[in-house]
Symmetry: C2
Subunit: 396 residues, 2 copies
């Protein structure tokens, strides 16, 4: 196992983008049956691991997220997805916690995925990459955590697909998770969400530039198909009230008359087109196919006989969070998780945050949400025997 800096702009907080190669000693056996003996994982860390290795928090990113939680994105230059929550004295206090976030297996930001080179052919994997699951992603994360010498994480936290990873951790490796915060997520992907994912995949596959997944060999990209996929998905990340508040029926350029054409008449159209075209610059189309597929496969109840079974005997402390206007991962999905946890007498608190921002609320400035995380983490830290805030992470 070797650590090497990841190419790309250096982060201010964590100058080294880290990578590690896993699977050389013991191959990683995927759910589909394929064994991989070399998986590179790209990850970022923030803060310092304490002496008894009890202050680690694993942050799990969402479908199109990445390990740049609190660093400028190497391609877009934009701040990390939870940039404002990470730092000394902040919610994820880097004076107290050691934060880890790794790009998921199948991703496109440095971890082994379809855009990386297949050692067997010397060419990008493309569609030869094996099908992956949320369980496979978590297996690779567990190997990374092993590599870092951490037995039990203080907390595993994530929203959306990140929340699926949190639930998978708790079901498959409960002893390694002291506290868990699954946010805006579900224990299984719904029929409607599979349907939306399938629309996105078909949009990519319909693009002739996808070339059966071998577009990299041709120096091209299914730009238009991937942009359409992103546009459709982006609608599901917002709520109707949020779209109405933000754009309503306002015309592009604040015009007051229609142009009567197929240009972007309405602001919401130009916003969506922008979301589509910028996404293509930072994300790989095949990764989009593989990762959406992994979400579709996720169904903890089916894997464990029942959802309660998945959490039987758990000692993990849970804080389940949903958002009232999230229609992609509605509150009813979080409630199903809470009911299963109650059925096995787990330690669980549940908060539905009132917000009109839809699914994306977990990435936005939502004070009640942040207060919820903060309160739960503080109480869990006390239970775990971590030093109180302001003590610079030294164990007492």
């Amino acid at each position: 196992m070797t650590d090497a800096p990841l190419p790309g702009p250096a982060s201010l907080r964590n100058p080294l983008g880290l990578t590690v190669e896993l699977g050389r000693d013991t191959p990683i056996r995927l759910d589909c049956g394929v064994e991989m003996d070399s998986v590179t994982v790209a990850y970022q860390t923030y803060g310092t691991l304490n002496a008894d290795r009890s202050n680690a928090i694993l942050l799990c990113h969402a479908l199109t997220g990445d390990q740049y939680v609190a660093d400028p994105h190497p391609i877009t230059g934009k701040p990390g997805w939870w940039n404002d929550l990470v730092g000394p004295g902040r919610l994820f206090d880097t004076d107290r916690y050691f934060l880890i976030c790794s790009n998921v297996l199948g991703g496109c930001m440095g971890t082994t995925g379809p855009k990386e080179v297949n050692p067997a052919t010397g060419k990008p994997w493309g569609q030869d990459f094996p099908i992956i699951t949320i369980g496979d992603m978590v297996q690779v994360q567990a190997r990374l955590v092993d590599h870092l010498g951490i037995d039990q994480m203080f907390a595993v936290i994530g929203g959306s697909m990140g929340g699926m990873q949190v639930l998978e951790w708790c079901a498959s490796r409960p002893e390694r998770v002291f506290a868990a915060i699954p946010i805006a997520t579900a224990a299984r992907h719904s029929a409607q969400n599979i349907a939306f994912n399938e629309v996105g995949r078909q949009a990519v596959i319909a693009d002739p530039e996808w070339r059966e997944g071998r577009y990299m060999d041709h120096g091209t990209k299914p730009r238009r198909g991937l942009a359409v996929a992103r546009m459709a998905a982006h609608i599901t990340y917002l709520s109707e009230p949020a779209l109405h508040r933000k754009f309503g029926r306002n015309l592009q350029g604040d015009r007051d008359a229609f142009e009567y054409g197929f240009g972007a008449e309405f602001q919401v159209e130009s916003y969506l087109r922008h979301q589509g075209s910028t996404f293509v610059d930072r994300f790989d189309a095949n990764s989009y196919l593989y990762i959406t597929r992994a979400m579709d496969y996720f169904d903890l109840a089916a894997e464990h006989g029942s959802l309660a079974n998945a959490f039987k005997g758990t000692k993990t402390r849970f804080c389940v969070v949903s958002f009232s206007s999230d229609w992609l991962f509605p509150t009813v999905e979080s409630r199903a998780v809470v009911h299963a946890l109650n059925a096995v007498a787990a330690n669980v608190s549940f908060v539905e945050i009132q917000s009109d921002k839809g699914h994306d609320a977990f990435l936005l400035d939502e004070p009640e949400f942040h207060a919820t995380l903060s309160g739960f983490l503080e109480a869990a830290a006390v239970r775990r025997g971590l030093p109180p805030a302001g003590s610079k992470g030294e164990t007492p």
Copy 2:
């Protein structure tokens, strides 16, 4: 003005598919400013117009609907979209009422639209077709009704985009509508709905076979793009509970294990793919662009200063219907119409039908919905002085 049979399989009930050419005497001036001096309208009728021409019902079809309300579709052979509601003794009793349904301007089932020949070039209009609005569709319908010698329709009825036409009729030509039933609709297209339409349009436009709209000149079709557009739209026509009940996470072919691939693993995927590919056989891609655009432009309040203004002084009797699980045209949109009608002291009843079938409920077997239509029509018929049921449509 000439009537001529429409080519295609003959209907059992109405052997002649009718067409009429309008605009020769007085050109039809569209909202975008273009004047058309020849618009062919394809329409179907059921039942017989009575002597005092007081028993006409205009049925307005939805985005991808057509005039084949109760005839087998000439391309798919499937029964009409309200097939079971039309006939002697049925809800739309052909012994009592004279039903008219015309393919909308911009459509692709015989009415002038982008796939028809542009007289100026001798080639299909394609993207040279002028941008149209719901108001333009209604203007053309009004010309058709003039042609049929009908001053006032007993009722104008339609769901979804058909409901927009109903509202437009009531706002622009109130004296010509005795009773109106706008179903599962809105007085303006929401930001979210514009966004979904834009995704569909971009999917079509992204397909290289669209060829800037001139695909017919090349003997091709943007099949894949239009299929993706339909898939995305189709999700919005259903509800999450309906998808869950119908498909859940069931695997294709009732398999009990994953195949780990990008084929249709889940039944909901194969269902959506089927919806996409069959749609392409019966619908024109440019028509899809033009008609979705017309919906986006619709905003009665903006056109009339306020929604109440749009209905000021109306003598029309309204029955506004919504469905509880319709998230494309949610009940709140119908309520906005009802509030505006109340504000001008209109005669209005409002029913929200409890259904888990989503937006498409208006096309499905919903007994409470049908009872609502029946009760309202019966009371309105008495008011209008139409003979009671069973009297074969003769005026007393």
